[in-house]
Symmetry: C2
Subunit: 193 residues, 2 copies
DNA sequence: TGTACATCAGTGAACGCGCGTTCACTGATGTAC
DNA sequence: TGTACATCAGTGAACGCGCGTTCACTGATGTAC
């Protein structure tokens, strides 16, 4: 029995959603409190009525980004499975898709932020570690019955790494080529279906 | 026939070296011009006699970091090969070593900075793309004769991704466990020697 | 149903601080004769 | 070998700007009677 969300709760939600996109787009250092509040349709002064600090928002936004992205990938993956792909193939094709390459802002926050994670405040690092564990867990789920659970970490790293290398080369021919090469090579290795 | 380096050239070198460590330690946004100059034993005012802009330094520092790290890994890898490891095993064990996990500052700049690369100025992004290509090239060299060249990109992504996930989990038991799990799993897959 | 008041959510100006960049200047090094 | 001057490399104060955070205030919403 959910109660009606208050006005404040709605604002809070909007701020977190905005921030979840902003950190993936601009990095942890790339967007300021004022920018996020403005994008959420508010003024920056009200920020501290919602969060004790900027880091608290970053931590919350990271979790939100992870859940959103997981859901997106889950959907895309389900579609591929409906067409006959195995769970693993569906996950790999979804994660290493051209569309994920270009939409950093709504994609996996681990891929978008991994190298910045170790440099954040403890609060944010904890949230980051949870996102990493969750990603590995999701790979694990797609792997059932297929090799040791050790492979989940290997494949998770591979997914994150490949996407990042492709993005570093650019959202262009070169990046897309790297991505499709890697995807093909990875699928050939683990999976047939 | 090298000529003696001038005083200015020596300073320039020192600044670039300092910056190459600083960006890996603190990220592209993590260290300022004044900090780097101070660490190099100079005052910040002199900076613009050496570089046209902060971004120009970042680009130069990135290249320097890449070369230094490649050399380090090459050495470590050569030692392992001398003990009988194949080129690929030697590279993987060097790259995914506990020591590389903890020494971000002197390690591979692609692993240290990958997710920040797409957000940099064109000047820096170009230098970043070169580092990515160079890393893939080095994996390729270690792969000779072993499967299609496509695999180089796959393995490069895997190396970078695994190190980043481990670092995101922390330089502790959990991070080290992830790293060794991945390393073992990767070696079991490609390589025997 | 209406009035009086308390609480809530958000506003906007201000704070201290650190940043990248500029610039007039200084002291050291090198060159000409 | 010594002197006079030009050039070089680095100094340190200052600039404009944007940031995270604080705070006194305002207008809207909810509650008591």
């Amino acid at each position: 029995m959910d109660t009606q969300p208050t006005r404040k709760e709605l604002s809070h939600e909007r701020i977190v959603e905005t921030a979840a996109r902003a950190i993936r787009r601009g990095g942890f250092n790339g967007v300021g409190v004022a920018d996020i509040m403005k994008e959420a349709g508010l003024t920056h002064g009200g920020f501290y009525a919602h969060f004790p600090s900027r880091n608290a928002l970053l931590a919350e936004a990271l979790e939100r980004a992870g859940r959103d992205s997981a859901e997106r990938i889950e959907k895309s993956s389900a579609l591929r499975q409906a067409k006959g792909a195995s769970a693993l193939r569906a996950l790999v094709e979804s994660y290493l898709s051209d569309s994920h390459l270009s939409s950093t802002e709504s994609g996996c926050p681990v891929a978008a932020l991994a190298s910045e994670m170790p440099r954040q405040a403890a609060e944010v690092r904890d949230a980051a570690a949870r996102r990493v564990r969750s990603l590995i867990g999701r790979v694990q789920n797609a792997l059932t019955g297929r090799g040791a659970p050790d492979r989940a970490a290997l494949i998770a790293g591979q997914l994150v790494g490949a996407l990042q290398l492709a993005r570093a080369l650019g959202d262009n021919t070169e990046g897309k080529a790297l991505l499709s090469t890697t995807r093909r090579s990875l699928l050939a290795q683990y999976d047939i279906t």
